[in-house]
Subunit: 405 residues, 2 copies
């Protein structure tokens, strides 16, 4: 690669004066438009059981909202909590309750310091921020195409009782798009952990967020854990943030009866009940699993061309560049662009100079530290198709410039 | 009082077969109807600054929602957070952040155990549940008509560095209706505390909830604390739960810049942002302070006759009963019925047998323990006027029977 040529290409791209923010996996306005009926008339405030959703109560959510999530997550409604508009908040609070109250039948984590979590990497920066903020030590575990390196996971959790939890994005993982295999799920549910109060934080964020025709299924983790004799091991999280409105939808938690009642006890101290009006509004709009799937197909139609455009640009500009590769996700919101070692930060900086804001390099690793400085998270959802095409070209040129010298 | 006569009166009342729940301060359906426009068409999703409320972001709330609360609470918008649909959750989380992270510039409370809070009694049971759940020791302080016993408060906080906080419902206090005097506010802001990380949890739940013509004002606690040289001492909480929909409205927190940024830092780990669609919906509906006050006048018209009915029944049936008295609140949601010592539990049990569910006796005290067993919280808001009149009569008869022998 000729440095002068790449530099000229970069300078000419820079002159376009782009101003694009691709730092987060935000839905595009056209995706949000799909749910604009939520802005309209609710058509009544009485729930099916007569509950006046405008008044206090219902710490674990509206009955029909719990039933809807039960059907979406394939779990009994009695084990589902619908609360908050962000599953991240539910995950945060599960860990906070673990710190201050302890998991059911166990001492508070603050009384068992130090505490550690396994973090498959690259992973979701906001998961890692929760651990960092609470002083929970994070241990990196490599992510492969079929999930985390299970040999390493099994070895670590068997040996170290300070490991109280593990972050899991089982399907279309953020940012690599990896999907946990049946074998990965089986081993996670069956493995021996030194900590009796170990939990899998199962963030099923992209359960319905397919990009291809294939609708990949991951085995039910609650069933797997129960069958393996560890019924309380997993806590499942989901939300409608990338189904209806981001941050104004419904979030849910599903867990064993023991974990469910533990959550109910602690959340009842925090709140008299969630926003049931918004839950009813969502149930009226989403109706049932078939309607959710139809809505997600409409999202797919909007997202797929953007992913294809990025992949096409990468193929065109980076195919023959040594040490560069990228994921081809079958769902989710991200592409993981892998650079030669030591080039990710420089690429992100060059892209920014050219008007393209990317997630900071390293963000997909605990403490923001990618030891190889080689992962860049690409979020194609928010910009328009034209913009994302330009941006993918600009990122490609920035990467080429970063590694030319 | 003739026991047989009272017993006969009670038996005849019981035969009415009432089924009334007066255990909580829930708004009545007619009050909720006042805000039914919130169920209708939002009329757009763009905030004044162009923010698409349907997408992620805005950890401290939508700009116009913060401006509205700033005007309602008489504080700068830059110091206001709008988040969650329940101020109780904001209070809970402030204490949780205090436990796990510490107040700005101070060690986490979990590292400073034991921790204590001052609890004016009778007070709000859900405040006390938060402390109990987190293992925070509660110290009773008697509430008078002008606020808590300040001589005792000053003595306690000056002597004991374990006292990290104090619950305050400054106006129309739950359950007595007491209003903090100017002098009480001045002394709370000026007093010397042994703990440098002491906080007033200022629950301004009933700021606009007048029952009489008089609109009582309590001095601005943030200003008072700043002027007294303790700018970070108070954190103010409020919500629209008893203005629009209970549990589906907006909640807010107002505090000094240091406390505001402390909250912002920690909440940004918990969530990408609150439900801005609901915030915009509320701002469209509530408009400004004048509209909120007009709405509260409509609430007052519905609530006043219910309070008057209870007071009239108590006057008729209990006026000449020795050792019995009750508060005449100028606002808020409760009347505190004070029985002779040792009679509250028995009265509540008799009322329940007659079909009237009251808040458990003792609930207004830490650990559910009213040392004199003499306070019953009456919540007139939810039942209809006919029902509340019957219920107040039934409670009066139950009390008379409880103390006759």
């Amino acid at each position: 690669m000729n440095h002068a040529d790449v530099k000229a290409e970069y300078d000419s791209f820079k002159k376009l004066g782009l101003k694009l923010d691709m730092s987060r996996g935000k839905p595009a306005p056209e995706q949000l438009d799909l749910s604009n009926a939520l802005l309209g008339d609710l058509g009544g405030f009485k729930a099916a059981d007569g509950t006046d959703t405008r008044n206090y109560g219902g710490a674990v959510g509206l009955a029909e909202a719990r039933t809807l999530f039960a059907s979406l997550l394939d779990v009994p409604a009695a084990q589902v909590v619908v609360d908050s508009s962000a599953s991240l908040s539910l995950m945060h609070d599960v860990i906070v309750y673990g710190m201050l109250h302890g998991m059911p039948g166990h001492a508070p984590w603050v009384a068992q310091q130090p505490i550690s979590f396994l973090c498959p990497v690259p992973g979701y920066d906001r998961h890692f921020s929760i651990c960092e903020s609470l002083g929970i030590k994070m241990i990196n575990v490599p992510m492969n195409a079929r999930g985390p390196d299970m040999d390493l996971v099994e070895k670590l959790v068997a040996a170290d009782a300070s490991i109280k939890g593990m972050w899991c994005v089982p399907k279309y993982s953020n940012p690599s798009g990896a999907v946990y295999s049946d074998e990965t799920v089986r081993r996670l549910s069956a493995m021996t952990t030194a900590a009796p109060d170990f939990r899998l934080l199962w963030d099923d964020a992209y359960r319905f967020h397919h990009l291809g025709e294939e609708k990949i299924a991951v085995p039910n983790i609650l069933d797997a854990c129960e069958q393996a004799g560890h019924p309380d091991r997993a806590i499942v999280f989901a939300s409608t943030s990338k189904i209806t409105f981001a941050g104004s939808g419904m979030a849910a938690l599903a867990a064993s009866p023991a974990n469910f009642h533990w959550w109910q006890r602690h959340v009842s101290v925090r709140s008299i009940g969630p926003d049931k009006v918004n839950q009813l509004r969502h149930v009226h709009f989403l109706k049932d699993k078939a309607h959710v799937e139809a809505l997600m197909e409409a999202h797919r139609q909007l997202l797929k061309p953007k992913f294809d455009a990025v992949l096409a640009q990468f193929a065109e500009h980076l195919r023959n560049v040594k040490g560069v590769n990228w994921t081809h996700p079958k769902g989710g919101y991200f592409i993981d662009l892998v650079t030669p070692h030591g080039a990710a930060k420089r690429t992100v900086a060059l892209a920014r100079e050219a008007g393209i804001t990317l997630t900071p390099a390293g963000a997909a690793f605990p403490y923001g530290n990618d030891p190889d400085d080689s992962h860049i998270r690409i979020a194609p959802s928010f910009p328009s198709l034209t913009e994302i095409t330009q941006a993918a070209k600009g990122i490609s040129i920035s990467l080429k410039l970063a590694i030319s010298s």
